[in-house]
Amino acid sequence: MAQIELDHIDRIFRLGDSEVHALRDVTLRIEAGEYVSVMGPSGSGKSTLLNLLGLLDRPNAGAYRLEGRDVTTLSPDEQATVRSARIGFVFQSFHLVPRLSAAENIGLPLVLAGVPAAERAPRVTQALDDFGLEGRAHHRPDELSGGQRQRVAIARATIMRPAMLLADEPTGNLDRATGHEVTALLEALNAAGTTLIVVTHDPAMGERARRRILMEDGAIRQDLRAAAAAPESPGSGSTAPPP
């Protein structure tokens, strides 16, 4: 059983009279611990795929099983619980709450999950240490550099120890050097066992992934796996139809 199993997913948006097929018949398996990049031109459906994987969006047709459990039929609150415990998001524009300090932004998922304050403090401190933000705990986002902001965002995404990390253009708003730094950070988290799925326009970043998915017009055109790193059994990473 793969960690992520998508079967014949369709996602259709209605814009006035016309229908836009953001995803058509997407079938995909992703194993735990994989490093996947999703590339493709604008409007190819890669962001929609990411939102779907993150349970922020529902498919019009098809089935999504996360860790063996059908999550498309869950209620919104049950999906929220799954997001809280299993999924971490990293955004291009960081999405930090401007009025909260770095430490408070990192602790936000714990607060939302109802973790008591006494238990939160050591975990946030640990996260600040892990991401090199020791001296920045009480700085607000507008007092941080771009790289620091994205590190705060990654610390926040991982504080609940999710099974998968979904990153949408994580380096899109960063300069080259900082972008490399953030990429290295994400790859380190992947190396520690977290599934990493990155949506990007940047070929340099996309090339780094062990598995590269190319999307076009809402469908998967290409699913390449780098020869160097393929711990999974053959076939599990392909777009083969379900048994």
Partner: protein, 402 residues
């Protein structure tokens, strides 16, 4: 999210936009302050009137000639004649009742007062020795009317302090003679200056024995009989006794009216109480307006923080959590505004008391509680719609908004 965290989150959101929060609080506080100050004024007026009446004596019965019919028109209405007048004998009879302590008959008229060359118009009150205690008056010089039979027309008078200073400027009045109408009277006492008393001041009165006044105005009837019961508790019993005795004295006919101080007081109390309530209602409109303002502010907040709401959803916040956070923020704004208004209103009431010391302008407790509850209620009520809107936002669209 734990309740403490929800509250902290809402507090941080409220303090993040100080100007918005301050304006919101101002609107809410003006509403609450208006209720507090206006009810303080209304209730102050009520208490003022009640106090004024209480100065007359709490265990007072007033007997009036004639009967105020409230039963509508009946056969008797067309044949009944002028009521018999109340007489000194009636008053004397009341004095013998067990629950009655003091009786003061009252005959009132206007007369010209002359001392030497000075002339003055004054109200002449014919009464008895008990009047002094009954009205809570004090004697300044000399003595009050002698205790004697109601029918005895002694040629004595007690005058008010203003009259004394006008008729006898710079000299003693006691023992001097004055002419009231056609009657020559000896001044035996001067009332201490009072200035108090509803409608009429005792400073300009001439008090004479009731029979003297009746002779002066050529009448045998009385304007009123003041009866004081033996204490407040004895009032209903005394009223019954007075009614029975007077009825017996006039062949079973009830052609007089006995009113109590309490009845008059109660009427004023009700009228001014209703007035206060009405004023509070008008002030409460401003609270409703403030409530709508809370809604507007919160709707703007939801729009302003759309991306943040999307983020909270992505981080695993349930719809209920987001709803609670925004409701808490609305409630917080309302409570802070209400408390500020509470302080503002009390400061205003204090200012009113400072400007008008005789007016006990304290806001009644019910008004304060109602104002605070309405403020909180409208704040939360009008916070529901924005909170629901926030919770219903589509996460994907919310996140894509910058």
């Amino acid at each position: 999210m734990t309740p403490a965290d929800t509250l902290r989150f809402a507090t941080r959101a409220a303090t993040a936009w100080p100007l918005r929060t301050a304006l919101m609080m101002l609107a809410m506080s003006i509403g609450v302050a208006a209720v507090v100050v206006l009810t303080a004024l209304g209730d102050g007026a009520r208490r003022y009137v009640v106090n004024e009446f209480s100065a007359l004596g709490a265990s007072l019965l007033i007997v009036l000639p004639g009967r105020t019919e409230t039963g509508g028109v009946n056969a008797g209405s067309f044949v009944s004649s002028t009521p018999r007048e109340l007489t000194n004998a009636d008053a004397a009879a009341l004095l013998r009742l067990s629950l009655v302590q003091r009786v003061a008959p009252l005959a009132v008229g206007n007369a010209e007062i002359a001392v030497g060359g000075r002339l003055r118009e004054a109200t002449v009150v014919g009464t008895s020795a008990d009047f002094l205690e009954l009205r809570g008056l004090r004697i300044g010089q000399g003595s009050f009317l002698p205790r004697e039979d109601f029918n005895r027309a002694s040629a004595v008078a007690v005058i008010g302090d203003t009259l004394r200073s006008e008729l006898f400027p710079g000299q003693g009045a006691v023992g001097r003679m004055i002419r009231v109408g056609d009657t020559r009277l000896r001044v035996i006492g001067v009332l201490a200056p009072s200035g108090r008393g509803l409608g009429m001041t005792t400073d300009e009165l001439v008090l004479v024995p009731v029979a003297t006044a009746q002779a002066m105005f050529d009448t045998s009837g009385l304007f009123r009989i003041f009866v004081e019961a033996r204490g407040r508790e004895a009032l209903p019993g005394a009223q019954r006794q007075v009614e029975e005795r007077l009825r017996a004295r006039r062949d079973g006919e009830l052609d007089f009216t006995v009113i109590t101080q309490d009845a008059v007081l109660g009427t004023f109390d009700r009228i001014l109480g209703a007035l206060t309530l009405g004023v509070a209602g008008i002030a409460a409109i401003s609270l409703a307006v403030a409530g709508i303002l809370v809604m507007n502010v919160m709707l703007v907040a939801v729009t302003q923080r759309t991306a943040e709401i999307g983020l909270l959803k992505a981080l695993g916040a349930r719809a209920g959590t987001i709803r609670a956070a925004f409701l808490a923020e609305a409630a917080l704004l309302s409570v802070a505004g209400a408390l500020a208004g509470f302080a503002l209103g009390h400061a205003g009431a204090w200012g009113v008391r400072l400007a008008f010391p005789e007016l006990p302008a304290w806001p009644p407790d019910w008004a304060v509680v109602a104002a605070l509850a309405t403020a909180l209620g409208t704040g939360v009520l009008f916070g529901v719609l924005p909170a629901r809107r926030a919770a219903r936002l589509d996460a994907v669209q919310a996140l894509s908004k910058r």
